[in-house]
C-alpha cells in the first residue's frame, strides 16, 4: 500500500504545483501596480470614459479576488484569453506552437541523451585515460556555452548548406509528401542539433558520475571476481543500476530544456512555443505570454510527475 501512497502523493504534489503556478501567473499580471492590464487599453491619451468602458469590458472594475475566481473559472474551461497581436484565442495560437515545438525538442533531447549516455559511460569505464579527459572536456565546454550563441555559431558554420530559419520553405509550391518531409527534416536539423549540443554536456557529466558511483559498488567487484566479461558487467550490472539517478536527473533538467527551447527557437525562427514567448515579449502581448508561461510550467510539472512515477517503477524501494 505504501506504493499507492507514493503515487497519490506525487500526483497531489504536481496538482498543487500547477495551482501555485496559476496563482503566480495571475498575481504577476494583475497585482503589479500600474502595469500590464492597467495599461491594457494601449491608448495613451484615452479619455476617462474610454478607460472606464475598457475597464468594465475586461472586468477590471471588480475586486481582485473576484477577478481571481473569474480567471480560475475561465481557465478551467480552457479559455486563456485573446492575443493582443493577432486577435486569435491564445489557446489556438499555443496549440499550433506546441505542435511545432514538440518534434524539435524531442529530437534534440533524444540526441543529447544518446550522446550523453555514450560519452558518459565511456568516460567512467575508461577512467583516467585520454578518452575520459576528452569527453569530460568536450562536455564541460558545450555545457558552458550560451544556448543562443551556439545556435548562431552553427548558423555561421552551416549557412548555405542547411536552412537556418523557419520550419518550411515557403517557395515549395504543391510539394509531394516526400518533398515536404525532406524540407522539414532539413529545417529541423540545426535547431535540434543546437538543443542537443547544449544539453548533452550536462548528461555526460551526470552519467559519468552515476556510473563511477555504481562501478565502486561491491557487486561489481563480485561480478569481476566471478570472471564475467567486461561487456556483461557493464551492461547487466553497472548500467542498469546507474539508470536510476540518470532517469531522475534527466527529468530535473526539464527546466533547462524549456529555457533552451525558447532561445533556440528565437535564433532559428522556429514557430514554436519558445518563439511565441519571444514574440509576446517584443509585442508586450501579455495574454500570449501568460498562456505560454502556463503551458511551459504545466508541461514541466507533468514530465516531472512522469519521471517520478518512472523512478518508482524502476526502483520500488523508494517510498520517501
Amino acid at each position: 500500500m505504501r506504493g499507492a501512497d507514493y503515487v497519490i502523493k506525487r500526483i497531489a504534489f504536481a496538482l498543487l504545483t500547477v495551482f501555485i503556478a496559476v496563482t503566480i501567473n495571475f498575481a504577476l499580471f494583475r497585482l503589479a501596480p500600474g502595469t500590464a492590464v492597467t495599461n491594457l487599453a494601449r491608448v495613451p491619451h484615452a479619455t476617462p470614459e474610454t478607460r472606464l468602458a475598457l475597464k468594465r469590458e475586461f472586468g477590471l472594475d471588480k475586486s481582485k479576488l473576484d477577478q481571481y475566481f473569474i480567471y480560475l473559472k475561465q481557465l478551467s474551461r480552457g479559455n486563456l484569453g485573446i492575443s493582443f497581436e493577432n486577435s486569435q484565442p491564445v489557446r489556438d495560437n499555443l496549440k499550433t506552437a506546441l505542435i511545432n515545438t514538440i518534434p524539435m525538442v524531442l529530437l534534440g533531447t533524444l540526441f543529447a541523451i544518446v550522446i550523453g549516455t555514450i560519452t558518459g559511460v565511456l568516460a567512467a569505464w575508461r577512467r583516467g585515460t585520454a578518452a575520459e579527459g576528452a569527453s569530460v572536456t568536450t562536455a564541460l565546454a558545450f555545457y558552458s556555452m550560451p544556448t543562443h550563441w551556439l545556435g548562431l555559431m552553427l548558423v555561421i558554420l552551416f549557412a548555405g548548406t542547411l536552412p537556418t530559419g523557419g520550419m518550411t520553405n515557403d517557395f515549395l509550391i504543391n510539394p509531394s509528401f516526400w518533398q515536404h518531409f525532406k524540407d522539414l527534416v532539413a529545417h529541423i536539423t540545426l535547431p535540434a542539433l543546437t538543443l542537443g549540443l547544449v544539453l548533452f554536456g550536462e548528461y555526460t557529466l551526470i552519467v559519468r558520475s552515476a556510473m563511477l558511483e555504481t562501478l565502486s559498488e561491491d557487486y561489481i567487484l563480485t561480478a569481476r571476481a566471478k570472471g564475467l566479461r567486461p561487456a556483461a558487467i557493464l551492461r547487466m550490472h553497472a548500467l542498469r543500476n546507474a539508470m536510476l539517478p540518470i532517469a531522475t536527473l534527466i527529468a530535473l533538467s526539464l527546466g533547462y530544456i524549456v529555457a533552451g527551447a525558447i532561445l533556440v527557437e528565437t535564433v532559428f525562427s522556429w514557430p514554436g512555443i519558445g518563439r511565441a514567448v519571444y514574440d509576446a515579449v517584443l509585442a508586450r502581448d501579455y495574454p500570449m505570454l501568460q498562456g505560454a508561461f502556463l503551458v511551459l510550467t504545466v508541461s514541466v510539472v507533468f514530465f516531472n510527475l512522469v519521471a517520478d512515477l518512472l523512478y518508482f517503477k524502476l526502483d520500488p524501494r523508494i517510498t520517501e
Binding site: L16, T17, I24, N25, L28, F29, A32, T35, A124, R127, G128, E132, V136, T137, L140, A141, Y143, S144, P146, T147, H148, W149, L152, V155, I156, A159, I206, R208, S209, A210, L212, E213, L215, S216, D218, L221, L244, P245, T248, L249, L252, G255, V258, A259, I262, L263, T266, V277, Y278, V281, L282, R284, L289, A292, F293, L296, T297, V300, V301, N304
Partner: protein, 318 residues
C-alpha cells in the same frame, strides 16, 4: 583533470582532519582544474575592473566603419556602431559580472536564510520551508524570469532582482543539509546548554562551518546568473542603456552581423561568457566536491538518494 578513482578493494586512507579555515584556498591550490579556473576568473575580473583605465578606446565613440574588419589598431574589429570590440568586451564583462555577482548575492541571502532556518530549527519550519522550495524547484525559472522581467520593464536593477529571487532553491537545499549535520555536533549542543541565543549559535558556530560550502555554491550560482543575464538580454529584456556581454550578442544578432560576415562581432562575447561559466563550474565543482562528500553522487540532484558512505574519492562533481 580527472581525480583518480580507487580500484575497488584498494586500501583507503582516511583523510587528514583539517580545520575548515583555509579549506577553500587549499582546495583551489591543490586541484589543477580549480587553480586554472580561478586564474582565468581573476584575469577576467581584473580586466573588467580596470576597464576605465585599460580599455583602448572610448566606449561611446565611433572609431571606424560599422562592422569594421579586425586590424592592428582594432584586433577584434568594430561592432554595429563602429565601436572597438576590445573596449566593448571589457565594459561588457563588467556589467555581466556585476549582474552575476549581485544576483548571486541576492540569491545567497534568500537561499542561505531559508537553508539555515530550515536546517537549524527543523520540525515544522523545516517542512514548510522545504515544501516551498520544492514547488519553486519544479517551476521552470527562465520562463518565470522572462515574464517578470517583461512586466517590470528592462533595467539592470530589475534583471538582478529577477535572477536573484529565482535562483536560491539549490542553495537552500545544500545549506539546509549541511546545517542539519552541524546542528547535531557536540560544541553546538554545548553552546546551547550554556545558554547561547539562537542568533549567536547560528552566527558563531553554524555559519562558519557552512561558509565554505556557501562559497562553492556562490561560484556555481554566479555562472548560472551570468548565463541567465545573457539569455534575458538576447530576448530583448536587457537594460538598453548598458552594454553587457549578453547585450553585445543580441545587438550583433539583431543588426545582422552574421549575414554581413562580421563574425568577430558575435564570436568573442559568447566565447567570453562560455569561458566565465566554464571557469566558475571548474572552481565551484572542485570546491563542492572537496567539501561535501554526499554531493559526490547526488551533486545535481534535488532528491536524496539513499547512500552509503562512499569508498575513496568519487568522481569530481561538476
Amino acid at each position: 583533470m580527472s581525480v583518480a578513482v580507487r580500484e575497488p578493494g584498494a586500501v583507503i586512507e582516511s583523510e587528514p582532519i583539517r580545520s575548515r579555515r583555509g579549506i577553500v584556498w587549499e582546495t583551489i591550490r591543490r586541484r589543477p582544474s580549480a587553480a586554472i579556473g580561478s586564474a582565468i576568473l581573476l584575469v577576467i575580473v581584473l580586466g573588467a575592473l580596470l576597464a576605465p583605465w585599460l580599455a583602448p578606446y572610448d566606449l561611446h565613440k565611433q572609431v571606424g566603419p560599422v562592422f569594421g574588419h579586425p586590424s592592428w589598431s582594432h584586433p577584434l574589429g568594430l561592432d554595429d556602431g563602429g565601436i572597438d570590440m576590445v573596449t566593448l568586451l571589457m565594459w561588457g564583462a563588467r556589467v555581466s559580472l556585476v549582474v552575476g555577482f549581485a544576483a548571486t548575492f541576492v540569491s545567497m541571502v534568500i537561499g542561505g536564510t531559508i537553508g539555515v532556518a530550515a536546517g537549524y530549527f527543523g520540525g515544522k519550519t523545516d517542512t514548510t520551508l522545504m515544501r516551498i522550495t520544492d514547488y519553486f524547484l519544479v517551476i521552470p525559472d527562465v520562463p518565470l524570469m522572462i515574464v517578470v522581467a517583461a512586466i517590470w520593464g528592462p533595467s539592470l536593477f530589475h534583471i538582478i532582482i529577477v535572477i536573484g529571487i529565482l535562483l536560491w532553491t539549490s542553495t537552500a537545499r545544500v545549506i539546509r543539509a549541511q546545517v542539519k549535520s552541524v546542528r547535531e555536533r557536540v560544541y553546538v549542543k554545548r553552546a546551547r546548554s550554556l545558554g547561547a541565543s539562537h542568533t549567536r549559535i547560528v552566527f558563531r558556530h553554524v555559519l562558519p562551518q557552512v561558509a565554505p560550502l556557501l562559497i562553492a555554491n556562490t561560484v556555481l550560482t554566479i555562472a548560472v546568473a551570468i548565463f541567465d543575464e545573457t539569455a534575458l538580454a538576447f530576448l530583448g529584456l536587457g537594460d538598453p542603456s548598458r552594454i553587457s556581454l549578453g547585450k553585445m550578442i543580441e545587438n550583433a544578432f539583431q543588426r545582422a552581423a552574421i549575414s554581413t560576415g562580421a563574425w568577430y562581432a558575435i564570436v568573442p562575447p559568447g566565447l567570453l561568457v562560455a569561458v566565465i561559466i566554464l571557469s566558475c563550474s571548474l572552481v565551484g565543482g572542485a570546491l563542492e566536491d572537496a567539501l561535501n562528500p554526499r554531493l559526490r553522487v547526488a551533486h545535481l540532484s534535488a532528491r536524496s538518494f539513499r547512500l552509503r558512505p562512499l569508498v575513496g574519492r568519487g568522481g569530481e562533481a561538476v
